[in-house]
Symmetry: D2
Subunit: 131 residues, 4 copies
């Protein structure tokens, strides 16, 4: 008799809940009459801008030094703010596109699990199509 454990049903639990932020940002934009600027195209550019600022924090640091950026008083505030900005624009972008981020994340994790089986990807930094 076969009794394999079924794979965990990742869809059973939310991995993220960003709905309250989505609503808060929608209200923030509506109050300021900003919906006209918040096209997906523009929000994607805003994300690029924030990732650029995040990159500037790390660009001349070694990988080792990059690990202490959030506790180093010179960079702690900046890195927290940039991470927050990326989250704000990401959630806003998904909201205006009508994408359920939790669902999208769960599906992507399932795909990653298939693309990167432990035995093949262990200790490797290669992309799945080169494994």
């Amino acid at each position: 008799m076969i009794s394999e454990t079924p794979p965990p049903d990742l869809t059973a639990v939310p991995l993220i809940d960003v709905r309250a932020l989505g609503e808060a940002l929608a209200a923030f934009a509506a109050e300021r009459n900003w919906d006209q600027y918040h096209s997906p195209k523009n929000l994607t550019m805003a994300l690029s801008g924030e990732i650029g600022e995040l990159s500037e924090i790390f660009q001349w640091l070694s990988e080792d030094d990059s690990r202490s950026v959030a506790v180093n008083p010179e960079t702690a505030t900046a890195v927290r703010e940039e991470l927050a900005d990326v989250m704000l624009y990401l959630v806003r972008l998904a909201y205006v596109l009508g994408v359920d981020l939790n669902e999208a994340v769960i599906q992507k994790l399932q795909k990653n699990t298939e693309n990167y089986p432990v035995d093949k990807s262990y200790g490797s930094n290669k992309k799945y199509d080169k494994l």
Copy 2:
């Protein structure tokens, strides 16, 4: 008699909850011995890569056409996957840095509320220091 409503206490409620994803990604990386690659510097570059892919979806589209990207069958899957990828790397980056994203988001929203008072920023696309 004055009875102004006090401003909402944004710190009272979580705006986002991404802890389950943070733990799932930590387990995913640990199982594959990937912690060695997941320095904040490297994860920031990975974020740049994903934002680049997101930009490619939008680069030649008008703002109007950008609004239907998630329902257009040619781009719907791609845009969902890219949004998910940005979320995965963002949550992973905050995790390895030890940054509480909910706290960071709440503080950034409070700052935005101060920087962009409704009367000054209504209908404007200017940065706060130019308002």
Copy 3:
């Protein structure tokens, strides 16, 4: 008698000459003992940072308004500086990698000419693999 014009030999003429800048930047870095920071990885992050700043100039503008950014007194200086910064880091990056940019550009143009035949790509914003 067939007398087709042969395709122009793109390799016969330099399309760009950035060697003087490459040398100037190498001297600039050497004088300041900056070679230690100028790894290709770091310079790529610096490029991301500059592209991010460029994106911030354009993010809330319509495509039409984006056309006058270099003559608009509010943005003219900034956009010139960001374009220059991208060029500086790009030339520096190619230099430390030992890549001949003129050669690379010529080969890429030849590839683009093959990938985008005029009849198929006329008026289209699709990537070559979707034409």
Copy 4:
């Protein structure tokens, strides 16, 4: 008698010459009726896309390994193509904006020379406003 050497007149020599490429790209776009897509806003997004692809080459590599990317057969072609793509879009963007890149580069170098005096910036990875 004072006989200080005057600072070199950087404006006397071109540091870069990208005019032939600018013309080649303008012809390439015109032939395909692509001017409608080549707004500065869109070209900036295309630049983000290319920088993203460049970042993906480097994201999991150590700084040391990043130095051999252009000679490693697995990445040599890709890195050359991405560098070329960045140059193509950068020159195209400057062209549609009407910005003289050589002039912009010279002025930026002069500014960098002022912002980073050798004695203050020697061996430092700090931005000029933190020196």
